[in-house]
Amino acid sequence: MALLSKKDTSLILDPLADNNPITIQVLGICSALAITAELKASIVMALSVMFVLGMGNVVISLMRNIIPSKIRIIVQLVVVAALVIMVDQVLKAFAYELSKTLSVFVGLIITNCIIMGRFEAFALANGPWRSFLDGIGNSAGYGLILIIIGFFRELLGSGTLLGYKVLGDPIEKTGLYAIGYENNGFMLLSPMALIVVGLIIWVQRSRNKALIEEN
C-alpha cells in the first residue's frame, strides 16, 4: 500500500493494544467510566472523541510553528472547545435523547486527557497527515475499550445490546430467563465500570508480560 507506509500503520495499530490510551497510558478515564452503562452511548462517545481528536490533531499540527510555546495550552483548549461545541450541537440536533444521557460528558471531552496528551506529545512535533493518523489510532484504541466495557455492562446489566433484547424478555420469561437467569443490576451502577476496567487490564497484562509494573 502506497497510502500508508509501515510507520504510518503502526501509528494506527499500536494504540489499539500495546500502547492503549486507557489501559497503558492511563488517559481519558473519566468519560470511559461514566457513560458505558449502555453500548449505544459508548459508541457515540467513541465516535465523538475520534472526530475531535482527529480534527484537533490536524489543526494543532498545522499551527505548530506559529503557536508561542508559553500560551500553547490555552490555544489547544480553544481548538478543542470549538470542536466539542460542534459535536455537542450536532448531537443535540439529531440525537437529543442520547445527548441527555451523555449530559455533561460531551463537554468533558475538552478536558479528556487523551486529547491534550496527544496534542502535546505528537501534534506539536509532526506533520498534519501523520498527526491525523495518530489521532485516529489513539481514539480507536480509546473507543475499543469503551465498547468492550459498554458491551459487558449492557449485556450483563440489562440483558440487551443496543436496546435489543438478546437474552430474551425478563418479564415474559422467554429465552435465558425461562431457565431462571436474572439480570445483574449491579453492572449498571458506576463502581462496576472501574472493576471491569481493572479486569481488562488484568487480562491484557497477563497476556503481555512486558507491561507488568514493578508495584
Partner: protein, 245 residues
C-alpha cells in the same frame, strides 16, 4: 441555611466527584502514589473549584443562559448563548489557574512551593470543568450555593485522593498478582471504595421517602375507615329494615 448544609454533605459524600461521576480520574490515578503529593493536588483542586464555580455561575447567570442578557435592555432578552458555555468556562478556568498561580507565587511562597507544581496540571483536570458543567445542569440557584458546591465537591475529591494514596502506600507490601500490580489493583480498589460510598446514598433517600410513606398510610387508613363505617351503616339500616318488617 438548611439547603447549604444539605448541599455540602451531598456533594462530599453522595455525589462524590470521583466515586459517583468519575471526574478527575486521570490525575487521581497518576498523582496518588504518595500521600504528600496527593494532599498538595487535593488542596489545589479545592482552591480552584471554590474560585471557578462561583465565577462561572456569574457568567452563566448574566451572559449565557436563555434570556440572561435581559439586564442590557429588553431587546436583548431573546438571546440564548448557552452553546458558548464550554469555551467560556474553559477560558475562565485556564485564566483563573494562571492568575491564581501568579498571585500565590507573589504573596505566599510557602503555599506556592507546596501547590505550585500542581496548578498547571489543574487546568486540564476534568473535575474542574465538570464542577462548572454540573453547576449549570443542576441549576444551582444562588451565588452562595455555587460557592458551597465548588468548595464541597473539592473537599470530596480531596478525601478520595487522600484515601487512595494512603491505600496505595500500604499495598506496596502486599502480594498482589503480578499483572494486577499498579494500575489494575488501583482500579479495583477504587471500585470497591465507590461501592462503599454508595451506602451514603441512603442518607438522602431515607430522609425523602419516609414521610411520603406515612402520608400514604394515613390516606389509606382514612379510606379504609370510611369503607368500614359505610358497611356498618348499611348493616344497621338493613337490620332496621328487617326489624320493621
Amino acid at each position: 441555611m438548611l439547603e447549604h448544609v444539605e448541599l455540602f454533605f451531598k456533594s462530599i459524600f453522595i455525589d462524590n466527584m470521583v466515586f459517583a461521576t468519575f471526574l478527575g480520574m486521570c490525575s487521581y490515578l497518576a498523582v496518588s502514589k504518595k500521600v504528600t503529593t496527593a494532599v498538595g493536588l487535593g488542596a489545589a483542586v479545592i482552591f480552584v473549584l471554590a474560585v471557578t464555580v462561583p465565577l462561572n455561575w456569574l457568567l452563566d447567570q448574566y451572559l449565557l443562559r436563555d434570556g440572561a442578557l435581559a439586564w442590557l435592555g429588553p431587546e436583548y432578552a431573546d438571546y440564548n448563548l448557552s452553546f458558548l458555555s464550554f469555551i467560556l468556562f474553559i477560558a475562565t478556568i485556564a485564566t483563573m489557574v494562571q492568575l491564581v498561580e501568579i498571585v500565590v507565587e507573589k504573596f505566599s511562597p510557602a503555599l506556592y512551593n507546596s501547590l505550585g507544581i500542581f496548578l498547571p496540571l489543574i487546568a486540564v483536570n476534568c473535575a474542574i470543568l465538570g464542577g462548572s458543567l454540573f453547576m449549570q445542569s443542576r441549576d444551582i440557584q444562588t451565588l452562595g450555593l455555587a460557592f458551597n458546591y465548588g468548595l464541597s465537591s473539592g473537599i470530596g475529591w480531596f478525601l478520595a485522593i487522600l484515601a487512595i494514596a494512603a491505600i496505595r502506600e500500604k499495598i506496596r507490601y502486599s502480594n498482589v498478582p503480578a499483572p494486577l500490580r499498579g494500575l489494575g489493583i488501583t482500579f479495583i480498589i477504587t471500585g470497591l471504595m465507590a461501592i462503599g460510598f454508595m451506602s451514603f446514598g441512603g442518607m438522602l433517600t431515607g430522609g425523602d421517602e419516609a414521610p411520603k410513606e406515612v402520608e400514604q398510610n394515613t390516606a389509606q387508613k382514612v379510606e379504609e375507615d370510611k369503607i368500614i363505617e359505610e358497611t356498618k351503616e348499611n348493616t344497621v339500616s338493613y337490620n332496621n329494615a328487617i326489624i320493621n318488617e
